[in-house]
Amino acid sequence: MHRIISFTDAIREATEQSMQRDPSVIVMGLGVSYKNGADGTMGTLKERYPERVFDTPVSEFCNTGVGVGAAITGLRPIIHHARVEFGLFGIDQIVTQAAKWNYMFGGENPVPIVFRLAVGRQWGNGPQHTQALYALFGNVSGLKVVIPSSPHMAKGLLNSAVRDNNPVVFLEPRWLYGLKENVSEDDYFVPLNKSRYVTRGSDLTLVTYGDGIVDALASHSKLLETGVSIEIIDLVSINPIDYELVFESVSKTGKLMCLDTTNNAFNVGGEVIAKVCSKLLHKLSFPPVQLSAPDAPCPTATSLTEFYYPTKADITKKVLSILGKPLINEVLSFGDLHLSPKITINTL
């Protein structure tokens, strides 16, 4: 059975099914006991599992470390931080303890833990509440890092993350919380380490992930009107990155665009372009293009954020210019620019 549910519903459903499936799963974090806690992803879980869902002191380092300690002794904790910036208090536990534990103790020392960190844009959140820090987590050996791009992906990836024996950083683009999709009621699993095609096309390969997918899809529809078909790849995982579809698609289209909804320096798009150039330079008919936010903190005023994030119109314009086609003048509404999408999508 499928039905249309939101991104946050999908996370709640995966949490619930994980807790039903495995009695060792616990959930900890600030406010996870409230019905509207953890951005509305908890529901009645506290009532149903009073000993396995608990609110914590405002001590992110400790909370994160307690999760690690519980994971190495047999539980499967989900640790929730409502902003990646809050999670940074516990960064030692994520990158130096959890990520290294199995390796530094010679193997056979699993750390089955999920760090749910909310990342990225949301109106009014400003420089200290909108970072994504993908590059930071992508760089850490020993972590698995996934970014769900739709409700279907959120549910299937969280189920897999909880079942995995490694520390999984689950970066939730807050921008997508209201997004809806037709999602299976089943307890299904999406592989943590496989990129996927979101659309098939022949003119250009667009590599993105997370909230980049929504704008990429909107641009894809617009471009179809002009007879241009782009192939959108959702990376799904940025640690490690699965290049199989990227190489396959670029070999076919000869053109690569990477879209990051965060600042430019050391970002995922740059990494993908470097790998493609070093392996498939001879297949490229046009220099790879990167779309990203500038290397400045994300401001708060809408008159500034309007120019911060790349938009669906920017993607469309760039694709058309690469292909040497006439540009389309697209006018974006205030909602397009500043409010998170409350639409139903189909990425399957």
Partner: protein
Amino acid sequence: MTLDQLLAAYRKMFLIRRIEEALVKYYFDNKIMSFVHFYVGQEAVAVGVCQNLDLGDKVLGNHRSHGHYLAKGGDPKKMVAELLGRATGCCRGKGGSMHMIDKSVNFIGSTPILGSVAPISAGSALTQKLTKSKNITVSFFGDGASEEGCVYETLNFSALFKLPLLLVVENNLYSVNSKLTDRRSSEHNLSKIVEGFGLNYYKADGNDYIDVSRKAKAAIDSVKNTETPSVLECITFRHMAHSAPICDDKIGYREIDTPETRKKEDSLFKIRTLILDGGTLEESLLEIEAEIEKEVSETILYAENSPFPEKEELMKDVYHA
């Protein structure tokens, strides 16, 4: 305390002391290419605490954990092999001196980022509580680590959730070469801090096995029976430098623990004297010492004859299957 207990403690303390002393030359011969922090002087703390624990109780340590590992019953051969970077080491050569682990005796890991072990040990205690285990978790860390914010957070967290947790603060007076007075006001009072968070506080002379053992027993009983986590602070002397097996008195930072005082207050010397004063013949101790010396030699020989990890090991176990 029975004579058997005392002799068992002496045997363990002597092993910890001699195994490290025997390893000094391997360090200077570049055979130990692992950062080392020797435990010499502090043996009464590890042994005094661990001898009061059950096999099922879990222990975690810090960067200076050879003593904690051995006191909990960790395999000496795997420890020395790890220091020499061998495939037979407790981490197959991947961890080195700062990462001791022997899960067969529930020594579940040591990790050198100061203070980090406190919340990890609270997580282990949380597992014990949620699974209704009768066992407790103990972590060892120093006075320096006890100044990290996450330790205060852990005091609060463990008191809130009534975790079966004992935090042992080994106060050896220095963080590297920084004195307590460099780092704390004269009003600093750990017992008030700990009790203010709702935990029990115990203090022991960390150079005195009897005192550590007695206070550790009280603390462990309280953790097991009253659902109140505890802190045991042991004041002890680190005989060697922070890192590297050398005596560093010439630097001049030591005020209380001068060579004369260290010798007088040496935990091993004190327990030995105590046993002899109780009427035990020195011959019995010499016999124990000879046995340990033999064990140490065999242990080092085992490690030296062990293979180095193969190149394939480099990329193995980045992830668990």
